[in-house]
Symmetry: C2
Subunit: 344 residues, 2 copies
């Protein structure tokens, strides 16, 4: 009945008293100095720990020397499936390495991002994973300068010299376009949220222009703010569908856009899916169910999250080589939406 004594958790001193040893020895029982302990000491301590159900207070231990074991993560939109899967991958990797992940959602709010960053620093996190819009350069630069290991996910921030993990955008876009070309599409339109200096979007647009040119495809880019006003998208897509002589296809720059495009096509009439091809970056669970099945270029999202943690870990362990960049390849899943381009 260890719980009947004191209402609060047992401390290392309780264990020491119970085992008849010093608190130093109990402290050594956890951590690397454990090998110093004799066999008898070790077993006595073990017994007391079990009897009292002692667990060291990580907060107290981090105060003096020991690390917190906390990794912070700042994401712009937790409801985005990309983010969720990435967080999941990062969480698995953290678990592997003995870290705990503290995730803050900034909801695309820059002020909130600053506040969350402050809070995270207050918890003495050992590393920081960032996947936000990048409007808060100064405070991030300062964190980096103060020696906090950081990793960017999905996009660079100019002026922030740190590791970065993301998709190989050029490869992904090329893969999509060569697939469309093979399927006989001759005109393509990339639909993206406003580029706004976000590097991954820039890269996708740039790769799109280059690659479509190389493949001799007619091409254009539609940059559009999603959100409240669905009509603008309907108009743009509708107009594009109208003036079609060639077999044409849409390339969606990410999962959010894919959803919006499917909604637009669906509003424009059920037969819209037959009037144009569609392929999207990001694999979504419902892609096989909609229309003829939506072709996708899947990002290795879980791997991206895991790699972010791995990069962080090497930095925490002391690696000081130049900032590196991990780009992972996308994978094509062809479905009905890009088959049989012989459309009027």
């Amino acid at each position: 009945m260890p719980s009947s004594r004191s209402p609060s958790r047992p401390t290392i001193i309780d264990v020491a008293r119970d085992a008849g040893v010093s608190k130093t020895s109990v402290s050594r029982y956890f951590g690397t100095e454990r090998t110093l302990l004799s066999e008898s000491m070790r077993s006595r301590i073990e017994a007391s720990i079990a009897r009292l159900e002692f667990r060291p207070d990580r907060i107290a231990s981090s105060l003096r020397g020991r690390k917190t074991g906390l990794i912070g993560m700042l994401v712009a939109d937790l409801r985005n499936p990309y983010t969720v899967a990435m967080v999941h991958g990062a969480e698995l990797a953290c678990r592997e390495r003995g870290y705990a992940l503290v995730v803050f959602n900034t909801d695309n709010d820059d002020a909130l991002e600053r506040r969350h960053l402050d809070i995270l620093k207050g918890y003495s996190i050992e590393g920081l994973i960032i996947n936000t819009r990048g409007q808060n350069l100064a405070p991030l630069q300062q964190s980096l300068a103060s020696g906090l290991p950081m990793v960017l996910v999905d996009r660079h921030m100019p002026g922030l010299e740190c590791d970065m993990v993301g998709l190989d955008n050029a490869q992904a876009v090329a893969l999509a376009l060569s697939h469309l070309s093979e399927q006989g599409f001759q005109h393509v339109m990339l639909v993206t949220e406003p580029v706004a200096g976000i590097s991954s979007r820039e890269e996708r647009v740039a790769a799109f222009d280059v690659e479509a040119g190389r493949l001799c495809l007619g091409h254009q880019v539609l940059e559009i703010e999603l959100g409240d006003n669905a009509e603008r998208l309907d108009c743009a897509v509708g107009a594009w569908l109208e003036r079609g002589e060639h077999p044409r296809a849409l390339l969606s720059a990410n999962g959010v856009v894919t959803l919006a495009l499917c909604q637009a096509l669906s509003r424009l009439g059920a037969q819209s899916f037959e009037r144009a091809g569609l392929i999207g970056i990001d694999e979504l669970e419902w892609c096989s169910l909609v229309g003829p099945g939506i072709s996708t270029i899947a990002q290795p999202v879980e791997a991206i999250g895991a790699q972010a943690v791995e990069r962080l870990w090497t930095r925490i362990e002391g690696a000081t080589d130049a900032p590196c960049q991990v780009v992972l390849e996308g994978e094509l899943t062809p479905r009905g939406s890009t088959m049989a381009a012989v459309r009027p």
Copy 2:
């Protein structure tokens, strides 16, 4: 240029020295005793804090007296949209109250759940939100007994007397069935993952039997393990479709099942959606896009997460009334999948 001096963060002592006051006064500057400080003292401290960019170390301050401001959350499956939305709601509410949320994903692994619980306790969380399978009663009971405020989400755990927030299952099921009945369906099948003692599933099944009986609908329940073997589901649903004389409809017990059912129907042929009605508990972003549009009963997921935090908060503030139970209503969105039941 405060950063050129010392590599590590300024401490309260640095501020005290800089302002020419005692560290006690600086400590008082934060927290409730602030009113004690004279005007001149307050402004001097303020200036030093700004000059040194001092932020109190929350970890250190929590050691003596002050709370950690951390709320822990244990979820069974972070990739489930229900979970994501609930986490998001909880996060907003935490932000409101000045808490930070530490989320651990147990991936439906009971051992992992125990480990995560231990870790969370090690960080001296102030409250715990639980949404897991409930196979780890003992350690949870112990946490509760030790005075940790806890809230269950979506389901009870028999033997764990604490607050609970979830869907009004009876109302949601009744709403779905009365809609189906109004639309002329005469036979309904509830499809659910294995009940396995999970209270929300039990309640949905119970309500289904009662309500279908009351409405004089032919009814049956299909309890099936999803995951790897999709064939079993295809068989079950296929067979059920075959032997149909009445207009019949499927009621999916949650979003995961809805996805599986749509996949099954889609595999069984595109016209399957016309052979039976379908309505699912949980609103999903793609429901309007699949087949004729899938009707849903939306759970107020964000509200559930927010309410969980609110319950926790009242407990943290000292409320000691009997464990309460917050049930929120589901909302019907009728779509094509439950229209025009006049099917052969």
